[in-house]
């Protein structure tokens, strides 16, 4: 019997179904991905293309195999809701009483509502009053929408103004590797996308947020152990050039500790590739609030009282 057509059809359907799963479906899902707007009060276009030097740095990152040891994808396992006060209101006594009451009630329902440190540990009238001077600040954390809404309602019924803050959580986020999970938009302008598969080193999705100084990155590439104790990263000294100081030292020369410093009359300067890589690393930052990855970016605490007091003292002198 001639099995040729059967073998052909079987092979055809096997390949066609994997093509549908690996090529067609992703293309239908995110093939037409475009720039979006961030959500929240300050809407901005996201993502924006990387600057030219950072775009070159992506090629250096790729060429040196950084993606073999560093991932660029942050996971998220859930979302919690923080109950934050933005305004203490006119009657702080009732606000404090309501907060303490909510915190005491939270002790009966652990997990649903938790009092956040440092307030939660040693809460008292005095400590709460002190923290009310540093608003906006989150006081309680809730795992369910209902409990959070109820708490906000309770607080708003006093003269205070309470808000819900959306807080993504997960092991990666607890390590400080970002504020939210990675989504496809984050890679829109990267080609190729290098999400990485191993984490010999830390995740670099938000390294520009953790370490925004390009000079730090240059020093770290030249001598990783000098910057991070116990680092297993190999030094990338071929991205740097040791050269004789001709007329005056280059402003780009690395400020190395004495044990790594070149002999007198020489200096270590980064090659263009190193500068591009540092620019790329500084540019790595994916923490904008998107519809697909919601989070609340709280406004910076209004430091008006101390600053004004300091200014007043300064002007009084």
């Amino acid at each position: 019997m001639n099995y040729g057509p059967l073998v052909f059809l079987a092979a055809f359907f096997a390949l066609a179904s994997s093509w549908c799963g690996f090529v067609l479906t992703p293309q239908l899902q995110i093939g037409r991905l475009q720039q979006t707007n961030t959500v929240g009060s300050a809407a901005a276009t996201y993502p924006v293309a990387r600057p030219g030097l950072a775009r070159q740095g992506l090629e250096v990152y790729r060429a040196n195999g950084c993606a073999y040891c560093h991932s660029q994808q942050v996971g998220q396992t859930g979302t919690l809701l923080d109950i934050a006060l933005t305004d203490a209101g006119t009657n702080e006594t009732t606000t404090i009483a309501a907060l303490l009451k909510l915190a005491d009630a939270s002790a009966n329902h652990p997990g649903v509502l938790t009092a956040l440190p440092p307030w939660g540990g040693s809460r008292s009238n005095a400590s709460t009053t002190a923290l009310l001077g540093e608003l906006p600040r989150a006081f309680l954390r809730s795992s369910t929408r209902e409990a959070a809404n109820a708490a906000v309602k309770t607080l708003n019924s006093t003269s205070a103004k309470a808000q819900l803050w959306i807080v993504p959580v997960g092991p990666d986020l607890a390590r400080g590797w970002g504020r939210r999970r990675t989504v496809a938009e984050d890679f829109l302008f990267d080609s190729p996308v290098m999400p990485g598969s191993q984490r010999v080193g830390p995740d670099l999705t938000n390294v520009g947020m953790r370490q925004p100084d390009a000079n730090w990155h240059l020093l770290h590439l030249y001598a990783p152990q000098a910057q991070v104790k116990g680092s297993t990263m190999p030094p990338y000294r071929f991205l740097f050039e040791k050269r004789r100081i001709r007329f005056q030292p280059s402003p780009e020369a690395l400020m190395l500790p004495p044990e790594l410093a070149p002999p007198a009359g020489y200096e270590i300067v980064p090659k263009p590739a190193a500068k591009a890589l540092a620019a790329y690393l500084v540019n790595l930052r994916a923490d904008a609030p998107l519809y697909t990855a919601p989070l609340t970016v709280p406004a910076a605490p209004a430091a008006s009282t101390p600053t004004n007091a300091a200014t007043a003292t300064a002007s009084a002198k």
Partner: protein
């Protein structure tokens, strides 16, 4: 003796070659597989997010995702801005500063900042005759530009006027507009400044 003539040896009875036959699949296996299939479908239904490109774990659907959108931090003025620049801005100016000989300013105008009840009435039937706006005397006629606008659009544009160009007054809600429309009723006669000032 030639080999052909050698007598054949008697064949001993051997166990037959094993053959693949047809046996029924046990019923319990069919039931188990059906249960797995059902569970798989339910799991897929709850976790696939309908393959929406907007849904990533840990969220399971766009509805769940919408629950977690951060507050916009105040009222969204974009709709009011769009309505304003289409209708009001032609005379009052997109900067709210008014145009000499055409329409008075909204920025810092006591009419824009005052009670919403007074302000909502103006676009519904118009305003004619002498009127004092921010210390300037005007004597023009405004047509009923807002008569045809839906309540929510009118509320949005009035809110935009009350909260833009340095104005900081309360927002106007569609309910307020609806209530004022009911009070105004079938009136087509434009207001005069005195009539409006009588309203609190």
């Amino acid at each position: 003796m030639s080999p052909e003539l050698r007598p054949s040896l008697p064949l001993t009875a051997e166990a037959p070659e094993p053959r693949a036959g047809i046996a029924a699949v046990p019923v319990w296996l069919i039931i188990l597989l059906s249960l797995f299939l059902y569970w798989g479908m339910v799991y897929f239904d709850q976790h696939s997010g309908w393959f929406s490109p907007e849904v990533y774990a840990p969220y399971r659907s766009t509805a769940e995702l919408a629950l977690y959108q951060p507050p916009t931090g105040g009222i969204d003025l974009s709709r009011g801005k769009a309505v304003y620049e289409n209708i009001c801005g032609l005379c009052h100016g997109n900067d709210g500063a008014g145009k000499p000989g055409q329409a008075p300013a909204f920025a810092n105008s006591e009419w824009a900042l005052g009670t919403p009840n007074r302000m909502i009435r103006i676009p519904i039937v118009g305003l004619a005759g002498p009127v004092q706006v921010a210390g300037q005397q005007w004597n023009l006629a405004m047509p009923a530009m807002g008569a045809a606008l839906p309540d929510d659009d009118l509320a949005a544009v009035l809110t935009y006027i009350r909260q833009s160009w340095g104005n900081k007054a309360s927002a106007v809600t569609p309910e307020q507009v609806k209530a004022v429309r009911a009070e105004v009723g079938n009136r087509t006669q434009p207001w005069t400044a005195e009539q409006l000032n009588a309203i609190q």
